[in-house]
């Protein structure tokens, strides 16, 4: 039930990261522990709702299940428009 609060918290964290790493957000990677008290499919659904709106440009959430009670924003994938090296 609190997955939407968590998704909004992830949204705030992503927004803060994007200030330091401008570009088009492509993927948001979140690690979810099997004892985190979080239902992954519900969190995924809520993240999709949050990420559908600006400034997230419809980025995709990728959840990775991990052991323990971890719940963390693991990584972002950002298209900065620059050519590959």
């Amino acid at each position: 039930m609190h997955e939407m609060s968590l998704a909004l918290d992830v949204g705030r964290m992503v927004e803060k990261e994007m200030e330091r790493h401008p570009g088009r957000l492509v993927t948001v990677g979140v690690a979810v522990g099997d004892n985190a008290g979080v239902e992954p499919s519900s969190l995924e659904f809520c993240l999709a709702a949050v990420l559908a709106h600006p400034p997230f440009a419809g980025a995709r959430a990728v959840l990775t299940k991990v052991p323990g009670d971890a719940l963390r924003l693991d990584y972002l994938e950002v298209d900065d428009g620059r050519p590959d090296h």
Partner: protein
């Protein structure tokens, strides 16, 4: 496409945890012990608090913050048992209290007159387990009318709690509740749980609970 991966590895709920640390610090400075009461709806949190306020409200300078999805019924009930202000948080739909709400409630509490703070969380054995409110410990209540397998069904809550109160013990002869199985189930998820067996309505076992609170408060002085 020039997609770069940015490592973040930052805990979600960091903001809640930062605010919980502020709550904890403020309580420690004032020498206040705080317990976060959690249970499913109807286990007897409010009745336990009523009896605790009757017995120890003045002696231990007890302040209370209540959380409910709707209504201030619990706060109104408790306000009749104390001269202190009872802080009611109506979450308006949220299934748990968070540290921000407790921090705001602290602003309205005279901490200098307070030795013991109870936060009566929203009745819910799931979500409140994940939210640190800055308390010293979570106290999980469950009752003999609920079934002895609650600790197995909601292990995170029982794992997060330091104390368990098994309430409505007066009903034990009338319900098919296996006391030994309930305790074993709770200890299987958290071997360190300290148990209290109470009937908050009729008073059975409350002396042990009161003695525990008195002794816990005697050990704490403002830093």
């Amino acid at each position: 496409m020039a997609v770069r991966t940015i490592e973040v590895r930052e805990k979600v709920m960091a903001m809640n945890n930062e605010l919980a640390a502020v709550v904890r610090q403020r309580l420690a400075e004032a020498g206040v012990v705080a317990f976060n009461l959690v249970s499913s709806p109807g286990s007897g949190k409010t009745t336990l608090l009523e009896r605790t306020l009757d017995e120890l409200g003045e002696e231990l300078g007890i302040a209370v913050v209540t959380g409910d999805v709707q209504t201030q019924n619990d706060a109104d009930r408790l306000a009749r048992r104390t001269t202190r202000l009872v802080q009611a948080v109506v979450t308006g739909g949220a299934c748990h209290l968070d540290a921000r709400q407790v921090l705001s409630a602290l602003d309205a509490i005279d901490l200098q007159r307070t030795r013991l703070l109870f936060v009566e969380n929203v009745g819910n054995l799931v979500c409140p387990a994940s939210w640190d409110l800055g308390e010293e410990a979570k106290v999980v209540l469950f009752s003999v009318t609920e079934g002895e397998d609650k600790p197995l069904k909601y292990p995170k809550m029982f794992r997060e709690a330091r104390y368990a109160v098994l309430n409505k013990m007066d009903l034990l002869p009338h319900v098919p509740f296996d006391l030994d199985s309930a305790v074993a189930a709770a200890r299987s998820v958290n071997p360190d749980l300290t148990f209290f067996f109470t009937s908050a309505l009729h008073g059975e076992g409350l002396t042990t609970w009161f003695d525990f609170l008195r002794s816990r408060i005697r050990q704490t002085a403002p830093v």
